[in-house]
């Protein structure tokens, strides 16, 4: 019998996309081969070479009466359906154990468009639009809407984000950090994505035609949401169980910022990892919902990957439902997960739509024996199914669902994890300047072997992450080569992502039209471009995710990185916090009213190298400190509010201390997050004096570098690690906060 304690099960489904307003109507269309692709209605595409899109025909107010960015609204619609479908009674749940993990590519692009369109037309700026811009806000909005106080995260790995978020939810449940998640992905239709793919000539002129004409994608919008629970939790409340999520694999191409590796190596690595982690064999997979975007580069690489790994298995069915839903970017993986689960449920697999006449003969040849389902669904009792998602930045994700329980690979260990390298890039305040900015002159990169031919492609956000990542690897004495590339991974944490490049791209589109987007800038507008460039430059091919979740994302990244090591996925992880500061961000923060309270902004990137004890011993690594425990806690509040959320900080600190197996009195120093904003400083002081009644030493790292958001959060840990190496104390604690009442705490132990 499978070990029930490791099982993650799906108990609720929610879906909204061009095919329909709920899971049942979407599935009815998808399984009958009916496409939701029509002419674009959201904006004028008259001057574009393509006019096709897969939009949801519900207005913002029809999705939800509350006011949020459309990406959030789509998710609330799907999440509401999933929660109702699961039969969860939230009144009876321990809400601190119920979290929200969402994938998104473009985040609040609709609100960015509106804000700068207003500005272009001379209308007054709406402060609310600023708060709706970052991807960081989405999971928080959804959690607050449903009153959930568990871990939140926005996984922002472009078109692989929806699949990665499902994997992330299972990881956190198996690590004991939550009982259940509202997990999935969401993205709205946006001029940003449309103009970007148009500029890259990656849009299909007609309806997209995956694994067929492969002449480009059709962009869609929507949200797919799964309720994922620990088996025990589901059984205890008598929930119906759709399926198990067995395991997932995440990898990085280390090849190109938009194109997949033609040899499919990165895709195959993710698929292999998913199969291995699921405890199944390749022969067990009955159906694959392919990434199948409809670009020639993707489809060719994916054909090759599947044929290489699965041979010519005639009993393996494959289809791309993007032929009907369009490519919903960060929502794609989650939408395809719902349709894949529906396939197991119905005993039939959905088709790829749009084949005509001779297309079928060509397909037969390309498929090499694999059963690519064309035009019409097929009756099949698919028991083990896979869904694949591949993204810009070279990020790949694969996940396995099963109708029946299986013993999964479980090598989770609690061996010590050490910080063995640190890279810090912080800003300085020039005479007369009002904030801290980093020196990113090309010479700083040349010192580390970064040529200008590579560097010129990067935006400021990517520059920052690349530099701190390289410095950290050098500090740890790690050289990436063929022997270790797969054993090293990256987690980037950010509050605001590459907002400057996004805004500049959006302004260009507003001023010059959707048909005049910049092919050069567009790849940098995805939040995971920085992690992609870091992998391309260094050659790192392992786990690679980017988390956008307020300032504390720079500590949350450390937890996710540690979990990747604990699962045995990687030996070494780069955990990072990055946020940039340009005049664009300075203006947005000013207009949002954030810096009125005495906050001085900064920018930077800090990377810590985390290493398993086995790897550190083998290399004889210098150990700054051991990561002994960590926790995240939330108190639902709107994205702009911090007051009244202090109890969550107390909870995060107490849980991290307990995770480390110590008591509060063992902690010598707290590395805090005070930044001059009185409500925030009061929360820190209040929590500290509640836990340490006799007082404790508090260090604030922002004093000389400004509020560099996620970078400051990782910096607090880096400073703690530096001090631990020399200090007499045995334990210290780094804490951080994020907008909307989320707090994270990491305990370090003297190594």
């Amino acid at each position: 019998m499978p070990d029930n304690s490791k099982r993650c099960v799906v108990t609720g489904l929610g879906l909204v996309c061009a095919l329909g307003d709920d899971a049942a109507s979407c599935a009815a269309s998808a399984f009958s081969g009916k496409s939701g692709i029509k002419d674009v209605a959201s904006f004028d595409t008259a001057n574009c070479y393509s006019h096709k899109g897969a939009e949801v025909d519900l207005s913002d107010s029809e999705l939800c009466k509350d006011k949020y960015d459309r990406t959030t609204l789509l998710c609330i619609k799907a999440a509401g359906e999933a929660i109702a479908d699961s039969g969860l009674d939230l009144e009876k749940e321990d809400r601190t154990r119920a979290g929200v993990i969402l994938g998104t590519c473009i985040g609040g692009a609709a609100s960015i468009d509106k804000y700068y369109q207003d500005s272009y037309e001379g209308k007054p700026a709406d402060k609310e639009d600023i708060l709706r811009m970052p991807a960081s806000a989405i999971a928080n909005n959804v959690a607050s809407h449903f009153g959930l106080d568990g871990i939140t995260a926005n996984i922002v790995n472009a078109c692989a984000a929806g699949t990665m978020s499902l994997a992330g939810a299972c990881d956190m449940i198996r690590a004991g950090k939550a009982d259940l998640f509202v997990a999935g992905g969401c993205d709205s239709f946006s001029s940003l994505a449309y103009a970007g793919f148009h500029a890259l000539h990656a849009l299909s002129e007609k309806e997209c035609s995956p694994f067929n004409h492969s002449d480009g994608i059709t962009i869609g919008e929507g949200s797919g949401v799964l309720i994922i629970e620990s088996y025990e939790h589901a059984v205890a409340r008598g929930a119906k169980i759709y399926c198990d999520i067995l395991g997932a694999g995440v990898s990085s191409d280390a090849y190109h910022i938009t194109a997949p590796r033609p040899d499919g190596e990165g895709q195959m690595s993710a698929i292999r990892r998913a199969v291995r982690n699921s405890g199944v064999s390749f022969e067990d997979i009955d159906y694959i919902n392919a990434h199948g975007t409809g670009t020639s580069k993707n489809d060719e690489a994916e054909f090759l990957s599947l044929r290489t790994l699965f041979g010519c298995r005639e009993d393996l069915s494959v289809s791309s439902t993007k032929s009907m839903t369009g490519h919903c970017l960060g929502a794609a993986g989650s939408i395809e997960a719902v349709l894949t689960i529906e396939a197991m449920n119905r005993g039939e697999v959905p088709p790829t739509a749009g084949y005509e006449g001779e297309d079928l003969d060509v397909l037969k040849e390309k498929a090499g024996g694999i059963d690519f389902i064309a035009n019409e669904k097929k009756a099949k009792d698919a028991k083990v199914c896979m869904s694949n998602s591949f993204a810009f930045g070279g990020n790949n994700a694969s996940i396995v669902f099963a109708k029946e329980p299986h013993d999964i690979r479980d090598e989770r260990n609690t061996d010590p994890i050490y910080i063995t390298g640190i890279g810090e890039v912080t800003g300085t305040k020039a005479d007369g300047a009002s904030d801290y900015r980093a020196d990113l002159s090309p010479d700083r990169f040349k010192e580390h072997g970064v040529k200008s031919a590579f560097l010129r492609k990067l935006d400021r956000f990517s520059d920052l992450a690349l530099l701190s990542g390289i410095v950290a690897l050098e500090d740890a004495g790690i050289t990436v080569d063929d022997t270790n590339a797969d054993d090293i991974g990256i987690v980037i944490g950010t509050s605001d992502g590459p907002i400057t490049e996004i805004v500049n791209f959006q302004k260009l589109v507003i001023e010059k039209g959707i048909e005049n987007g910049s092919a050069f800038m567009f790849p940098n507008t995805v939040y995971n471009a920085a992690g992609g460039y870091l992998s391309i430059f260094t050659g790192i091919k392992g786990y690679n995710i980017t988390i956008a979740n307020g300032f504390q994302a720079g500590l949350q990244s450390v937890m996710y990185a540690c979990e990747a090591i604990r699962r045995g996925d990687e030996n070494v992880m780069l955990a990072n916090g990055t946020d940039e500061l340009t005049d664009i961000e300075a203006e947005l923060y000013k207009n949002a009213g954030y810096i009125d309270g005495g906050v001085v902004l900064g920018e930077g990137s800090v990377t810590v190298i985390l290493e398993s004890s086995k790897a550190a011993e083998a290399r004889g690594s210098r150990k700054y400190a051991e990561v002994a425990g960590y926790a995240i806690a939330r108190h639902s509040a709107s994205y702009a509010v911090t007051e009244g959320t202090g109890e969550a900080l107390v909870r995060a600190i107490n849980e991290a201390i307990s995770d480390a197996g110590i008591t509060a009195s063992d902690i010598k120093t707290v590395y805090g997050f005070a930044n001059g904003s009185k409500p925030l400083d009061d929360i820190l002081n209040g929590a500290v004096s509640e836990i340490w009644k006799d007082g404790i030493e508090i260090r604030n790292v922002r004093a000389g570098t400004g509020e560099a958001r996620a970078a400051s959060a990782t910096l607090s840990l880096a400073c703690a690690a530096h001090d631990m190496e020399k200090s007499s104390g045995n334990y210290s604690l780094a804490v951080s906060f994020g907008a909307g009442g989320i707090y994270s705490a990491v305990v370090l132990k003297k190594a």
């Binding site: 500029a199 890259l200 000539h201 190109h256 938009t258 040529k451 031919a453 010129r456 910049s518 050069f520």
Partner: protein, 81 residues
């Protein structure tokens, strides 16, 4: 070679593709190791030249994209005054 056209192309490349100006001369190999342009950059060059001179280079041979000098020659030959 028309220096005026070449200078405009150089400025466009520096602005649109963030190529360091001091590393770019008329004979720099654009798609080689030095400047390191790729397929995305070529799309941007086509759009830039269309904007500047109304010359459509889409579908034209690789050899025309070698350097600022070859781009200039192409523009000179295809520009309608």
């Amino acid at each position: 070679m028309n220096e005026e056209i070449a200078e405009k192309i150089k400025k466009m490349l520096v602005e649109r593709l963030r190529i360091p100006e001091d590393e770019l001369n008329y004979d720099s190999e654009l798609f080689g190791d030095d400047i390191g342009l790729d397929s995305i950059d070529s799309i941007e060059i086509i759009v830039g030249l269309e904007d500047l001179f109304g010359v459509d280079m889409s579908g034209s041979g690789k050899e025309n994209f070698q350097s600022i000098r070859t781009l200039t020659q192409y523009v000179e030959e295809h520009k309608e005054d």
